[in-house]
Symmetry: C2
Subunit: 218 residues, 2 copies
């Protein structure tokens, strides 16, 4: 980090950020390769999380770094159970499509990170009227980590087909902690140029006009 | 965006992202200046939101762009009411400190953006076991916008001292929409080199050892 307080970014720098945002992908087990992540790479990714914004500067995050195969197997078991249940929610062709998708890389990724929200004891500035703000701060940390991983050419996938209580039990997490995200990280053989669910036509990309409202809803 | 599918970023590029993350600040009304944001700058920031990850590629976001002074005044009224209530939660010196803080820039910022979660009708891939995932996708969009704003040398502040239901009423938002973030954007006279709440010793910066757990909780 440069020491100048008034760092102004250039158009080239802004466009580089744009490129990183556009090349970030959700990476699953079909793309991870068996190559160790260096410790300083992991540290850089975690540090990116620590520089996220947080409500009232509460920094209400905890990161569990998981390398152990036995732990991963137990997490995979809750994924398998939840994905069987989830499949039933989709009908006909969509269900067939769902079953074919590879949605996680728990075992294939050399590193898993469970990211928790750790509630603070006492009032948090900015969280009194909107109690969910603490959890949203943790999500900002995850997004920072995701972008940093991509800039290090490391793939990251966010797995949400999990029973959070079972994950907590496997990790022996304190009762008050809440699982926000379960991340799989590793080097990849390639990054797709678009989201996999877009390439597979599961959903269409939304354009600006569909989601921007001027001044207020009519 | 370059067309190559295998964009690999360099160390210099990774370090530039690090700089953007570290220079991003929560900007309040004491720093915004009265200078119009060009339309293409606003579009670039919104586009950064649209390139965020979303659960099941659901893209469950809506952005209300607010320039109207009358609307801003109404939003400011709910801020004032909520901040009076919130002050009572802090005791003694902390209450005195709280009252002195400038926590928003609703009126001073040329642009306000209310960011909503718009639930999808029917099941969303990845959101069945963890229903909050849709809201977390919207937070990822906000963090992308925040970083893009900073790279454009535009300040952004996230205001959470608001009654979400009152904000929805002012903006005539659909019943099913949920307010995730209320953002104030504009050019600034300067960016602080650290979070204001760190500079003012409201909270201390956490270090990696405090928040990283190896393998599982003991």
């Amino acid at each position: 980090m440069k020491e100048d307080k008034q760092r102004l970014f250039t158009i080239d720098e802004q466009q580089l950020l744009e490129e990183i945002l556009l090349h970030r992908r959700d990476v699953r087990g079909n793309r991870f390769i068996n190559k160790t992540l260096p410790k300083n790479t992991i540290d850089t990714i975690v540090q990116a999380g620590l520089s996220a914004p947080s409500v009232g500067f509460s920094q209400p995050w905890e990161f569990v770094l998981i390398f152990d195969q036995n732990t991963k197997n137990k997490i995979k078991a809750t994924f398998s159970e939840e994905t069987r249940k989830a499949a039933l929610q989709f009908k006909d062709d969509k269900q067939q499509e769902y079953i074919k998708l590879k949605l996680e890389g728990i075992i294939e990724a050399p590193l898993n990170i469970a990211v928790f929200y750790k509630p603070k004891v006492g009032p948090v500035l900015g969280q009194i009227s909107m109690p969910e703000m603490g959890k949203y701060s943790v999500v900002c940390a995850i997004q920072n980590m995701w972008l940093m991983a991509r800039s290090l050419n490391v793939g990251l996938g966010w797995v949400s087909v999990l029973n959070p209580e079972k994950v907590k039990k496997v990790l022996n997490a304190p009762k008050e902690n809440e699982l926000i995200g379960y991340l799989c990280l590793g080097y990849t053989d390639m990054f797709y140029n678009k989201p996999e669910l877009e390439l597979k036509k599961w959903e269409q990309k939304k354009i600006q006009n569909e989601v921007v409202i001027n001044e207020k809803y009519s």
